[in-house]
């Protein structure tokens, strides 16, 4: 194992444990804190996977805005009381999850190894085209930005539309016309 993959394994394990805590902790505030830790761990994982744009977004959105929105929401609501620290296990859900997990686990062996330079994604002519032509064609050094705004600009228009739709949706749900 290379040093990167060891630290990656550690951070992913941490993230998974934080995720388990977020689901099983009964107190919602504790769950939100565990979720913020989870998002933070995942943001570090994105850096280790050479995806700084995704990491920045995850840190700002996942650990930042989403957590704040969660906190603002539970500030308005009552948290469940009781002595238990953890939730009870719901076995019916376990069964549903087991079906999905079983299906996905059978494919693991067929997936290309992590970091393989032979994988179809790495050798794809699309990846190659972006890396070679993005800078000459757009003058933008960050290929992610070039693809986001130029080659797949239509996706990004859709993404902005989703954000606007969410803003409107919150207004419609709460029926206040003060903002937006």
């Amino acid at each position: 194992m290379t040093p990167v993959s060891t630290s990656l394994a550690v951070i992913l394990t941490f993230a998974v444990l934080a995720a388990i805590a977020a689901i099983l902790l009964r107190d919602v505030l504790n769950a939100i804190i565990a979720f913020a830790a989870f998002s933070f761990g995942i943001a570090v994982a994105w850096i280790l996977l050479a995806a700084p744009d995704v990491a920045l977004t995850e840190a700002a959105v996942g650990a930042g805005i989403t957590t704040v929105l969660f906190l603002v929401t539970i500030a308005k609501t009552v948290r469940p009381g009781g002595e238990r620290l953890f939730e009870r296990i719901a076995w019916r859900s376990v069964a549903i999850v087991a079906v999905l997990v079983g299906a996905l686990l059978t494919t693991i062996r067929s997936l290309p190894a992590v970091g393989s330079s032979e994988a179809p994604v790495a050798t794809s002519r699309i990846t190659e085209y972006y890396l070679q032509n993005a800078y000459p064609e757009t003058g933008v050094e960050n290929v992610v930005t070039a693809v986001l705004a130029a080659y797949r600009g239509f996706d990004t228009l859709g993404e902005a539309t989703v954000v606007i739709a969410a803003g409107l949706a919150v207004l419609l749900v709460l029926r206040q016309e003060a903002y937006v």
């Binding site: 179809p120 016309e177 937006v180």
Partner: protein, 521 residues
């Protein structure tokens, strides 16, 4: 000319921004923007359709970047027909919503974003772009469902959001599997790459399963339909009409595109059990949906479960995988949209007269609202599949295709579902025409005058329900009590449309044919 296909998505988005910017200064901005967008969309979709009919299928590279590096939009006989359908339904619902509500600037902006999302689903030729449009469609729909006044609407919306997002995420994961197997996202490129990878690769099979399950959630196949009846029943009538006509339709169309444009019939030949499983899922949905519809007393829930069954039928048609059955599925997809939108607007209108939304409430309503009742009955029988309406054309081809393909089960299921559809609609029509209105509800009607014939603009309704009660303008609330002229126009137009489309079904099929010929060489 070909730019029109991109503008189908962009124009509603731009016009949705107008009420956001001007909403504070001008209360009417929302409706005006929505009406303008609906008409512009109609013009654009007709332009696209005209080009497809005159010169055949065309593609459009957004940003001028050649696919598969950029995003490709595709117009063919099928997608052009469906965007025209979007325009027509949008025009009708914007017209209807002006009086029926919810009448706010945010509502119209969100409706336009929904229009953009659905149009995007129909025209895109890229699997990830499809995900983005599915999410726009979903998010806007959740918001519109929550415009219902009751707390139950918020609950229904949240349930829809949770289930719908799981569905969309499974779709995204399916896209991930295809991407990791091939390294591409363009549908046309994928179809060749997948063949090169091999259809029996576990990655491709898992991808297929995830895509199908994700879209089955979105098109509300049993047992993944749980979000749907609540969402339909709790939404305002104008919203129900719109989403029942277009939202699940978009998901079913996406399934069609993936199965035929990405996986192609060669996949079915190599891995027959994949589509066999889909046939079973869809057939179960037809039977269970129909049975549940028969059991409902609430009209909107009845129509909602009816949609579970009808989408099962459409997808069964797709999964039978021969040209006849797929044609039938597509015809029924278009026909169902028109009929269901008309039926939901009809329920809203009749509920205003009858004072309730259960089957029993409609007793004797035909006397008080003869035009809408007649149109409702026509639509009901059209959906049952009585010729010459479009419901017949669709189901006939599905049955024909099923027999052709040796799928006797699908043919049997289609026949059973027709009988059950007849059962639940006959119950309603019998109440409407052959039962007298109970004394209690008769009070809510304006009086004996209102029982007069069709278009006498006699009655000014005192309390006819939510639709027409703010009748400041007598000219607009003509005729039968409580039914706005807009609602009447929409229901009657839907009924006429269902019949006319049925009469010209062969022309519709002729438009679909060139597309399907390519798939079934």
């Amino acid at each position: 000319m070909t730019d029109a296909i991109a503008l189908l998505v962009v124009v509603p988005i731009v016009l949705a921004l107008v009420p956001i910017a001007l909403g504070r200064l001008w209360d009417g901005a929302g409706w005006v923007a929505a009406a303008l967008a609906a008409l512009a969309h109609l013009g654009l979709s007709v332009t696209v359709a005209a080009k497809v009919i005159s010169t055949g299928r065309f593609t459009y590279a957004v940003g001028g970047y050649t696919p598969p590096f950029g995003i490709e939009l595709v117009a063919d006989g099928i997608s052009a027909t469906l965007v025209v359908l979007v325009s027509v339904v949008t025009v009708a619902v914007v017209l209807y919503a002006r009086r029926a509500g919810p009448d706010s600037n945010s509502f119209y902006s969100e409706l336009l974003l929904l229009t953009a999302g659905i149009s995007g689903v129909f025209v895109t030729g890229d699997v990830f772009n499809l995900y983005v449009f599915i999410e726009i469609t979903g998010l806007a729909t959740y918001a519109l469902v929550a415009t219902g006044r009751s707390p139950a609407a918020a609950l229904a919306s949240l349930k829809y959001l949770l289930v719908g997002t799981i569905g969309a995420s499974l779709y995204l994961l399916g896209v991930g599997y295809l991407y990791i197997a091939t390294g591409t996202l363009n549908m046309a490129d994928l179809s060749t790459q997948l063949q090169a990878v091999g259809y029996d690769s576990p990655l491709v099979l898992t991808g297929f399963a995830l895509l199908v399950v994700g879209l089955a959630v979105k098109s509300a196949l049993y047992p993944l339909h749980t979000w749907q009846p609540g969402a339909y029943a709790e939404s305002p009538d104008s919203v129900t009409a719109y989403i029942s006509a277009l939202v699940s339709t978009a998901a079913a169309y996406a399934l069609f595109r993936l199965v035929y444009a990405v996986f192609t019939p060669a996949f079915d030949a190599a891995v027959p059990f994949a589509l066999d499983a889909l046939v079973v899922l869809a057939s179960v949905s037809v039977v269970v949906g129909s049975v549940l519809a028969v059991l409902q007393s609430d009209l909107k829930r009845m129509l909602a479960y009816s949609s579970v069954a009808q989408f099962g039928l459409v997808i069964a048609g797709f999964a039978v995988a021969n040209a006849t059955a797929v044609t039938g599925g597509l015809v029924h997809l278009v026909g169902h949209a028109i009929m269901k939108a008309g039926l939901f607007v009809g329920v809203g209108a009749l509920a205003g007269v009858a004072g309730g939304r259960t089957v029993d409430d409609l007793a004797g309503v035909a006397d008080r609202a003869p035009v809408v009742s007649a149109a409702f009955a026509i639509l009901a029988f059209a959906l049952v599949g009585v010729p010459p309406a479009v419901g017949f054309a669709g189901k006939w081809h599905i049955v024909l295709g099923a027999v052709e393909g040796g799928r006797w089960g699908v043919a049997a299921v289609a026949v059973v579902s027709t009988l059950l559809t007849l059962a639940y609609f006959a119950r309603v029509v019998e109440r409407m025409y052959f039962q007298d209105a109970p004394a209690a509800t008769a009070d809510t009607v304006s009086g004996p005058d209102a029982t007069a014939t069709a278009d006498t603009d006699a009655a000014l309704t005192p309390d006819g329900g939510e639709s027409g009660s703010e009748s400041t303008d007598d000219a607009k609330t003509t005729g039968t009590s409580g039914i706005t002229i807009e609602a009447r126009i929409v229901v009657v137009a839907a009924a006429v449309g269902a019949v006319v489309l049925g009469l010209f079904a062969s022309d519709l099929i002729a438009v679909f044919e060139p597309v399907l010929e390519v798939y079934f060489q």
